[in-house]
């Protein structure tokens, strides 16, 4: 069902955890539908210095969360905004048809975290 890469990210997820004073936090999904992804960002200048995630969900949910944090660390905010759910799935070598929509929300969580960062910046001004 899942590729080797997906199983690797599921068994050895990268960047699990929280950040103490995150510059942006984004959460998508809900327990009712069976998936919740939360992404924490540390941003200095325009660069994502550190990223962590927490996820409640199936194998695809964990793997896509892990993969997106790997893809985004060290990138600029602009580069991060361009990362799509499809790109995350591709980086994992693909996901089963049925998993493409329900669990592949990691990029959405990332974008929500970036939006949250912008909101905080706006409030400071």
């Amino acid at each position: 069902m899942y590729t080797e890469k997906v199983m690797d990210h599921f068994a050895n997820p990268r960047n699990v955890g929280e950040l103490e004073n995150p510059d942006g936090v984004g959460e998508v999904g809900n327990a009712k539908c069976g998936d919740i992804m939360r992404i924490y960002l540390d941003i200095k200048g325009d660069v994502i210095q550190d990223v962590k995630f927490k996820t409640f969900g199936c194998g695809a949910a964990v793997a896509t969360s892990s993969m997106v944090t790997e893809m985004v660390k060290g990138k600029t905010i602009d580069e991060a905004m361009v990362i799509s759910n499809a790109a995350v799935a591709e980086a994992l070598g693909g996901l089963p048809e049925t998993k493409m929509h329900c669990s592949n929300l990691a990029a959405d969580a990332l974008h929500a975290a970036i939006e949250n960062y912008h909101d905080k910046q706006t409030k400071k001004e």
Binding site: F10, V16, A31, R38, C58, G59, A61
Partner: protein
Amino acid sequence: MRHIYLDHSATTPVDQEVAAIMMTYYTEKYGNPSSVHGFGREAKQGLEEARRQVAALIGATPQEVIFTSGGTESDNLAILGTAQAMRKKGKHLITSAIEHHAVLETCEYLEKNGFELTVIPVDSEGIVSVEDVRKAIRPDTILISVMHANNEVGAIQPIAEIGQLARELGITFHVDAVQSLGKIPINVKEMNIDLLTVSAHKIYGPKGVGALYIRKGVRIVPLVHGGSQERKRRSGTENTPGIIGFGKACELIGKRMIEDEELQTKLRDKLMNGILERIEYVKVNGPLGEKRLPNNVNVSIRFVEGESLLLSLDMLGIAASSGSACTSGSLDPSHVLLAMGLVHEIAHGSLRFSLGRQNTAEEINYVLEQLPKIVDRLRMMSPLYDQVINVKLAQ
């Protein structure tokens, strides 16, 4: 890597004796049972012996047993066959909220085609109340279908009482006994059952073969036309090897049922209690003790999701199943758990272990050793578990 199979409610390995006797009907006694010659006659003989074996396990006469391609076909035949036969008498069907999809979807199909359906709810343990069935009955009710024991949580239903009620009112009573056959006693006469669905691959028999018990005098319209096999109720050249295997499996499990029940109940309770002792925020789904199938364990583990649990167990060679949406291929978790009143998030975190003959105490110990570690790892990743940690830290 270890191989610990704890998904016997999904399917079972074929017993060696069953496989052996099936093989002879593939390679030696391969005649068509409908043929006049000796090859056919000997196949027919085996077929009728298998029929006797199935009938004996459920308390029926052989003439009342029809062979099909499995539980799903038997459910379809029972429900569609009755609806067609009785449509002039009435158009109301009654079933329960926890039936297998083979029953529910067939009923829903009829609902879209001129029939009316009442779905009886269940209590928090997953059990139907006889009173609710009684209240649902109308003058135009032609069928009541309630399963004997539920596949997900092992809840055993009050079949005999419902049967008596149905018999008094002259309503056809169908029971899906796919999960209960060979695990707990069935007697179709004593339980007043008119139609009974059973399947081979849950009792160490082959996949692709089942049976429908049709009480003498009960009318059904066949689904499959084209021959006169199975007293014209189910045409098609018989799956002789499969049927022979089914018969043999029935004979074997009939002899072992009491012993199996004792052993499995012990292991079931060991596993269930072990999980409750070792892991926090866990609850059992379904009834305890005698109201539950001897081999069924079903728990909800909070803050983690079912498929992730299964993948983690699979990585250690342990096979189980879950009622989470991700494992059902739909957006909703198990309809059985929802019918029992579980909220979605609790249903998503459900885990089912179903024991079988070859499981040992040692295997159970291994699972009890590994499961807490699996849960810990997933909880560390879970945003839902955060609340718990924060509360603990605050204390």
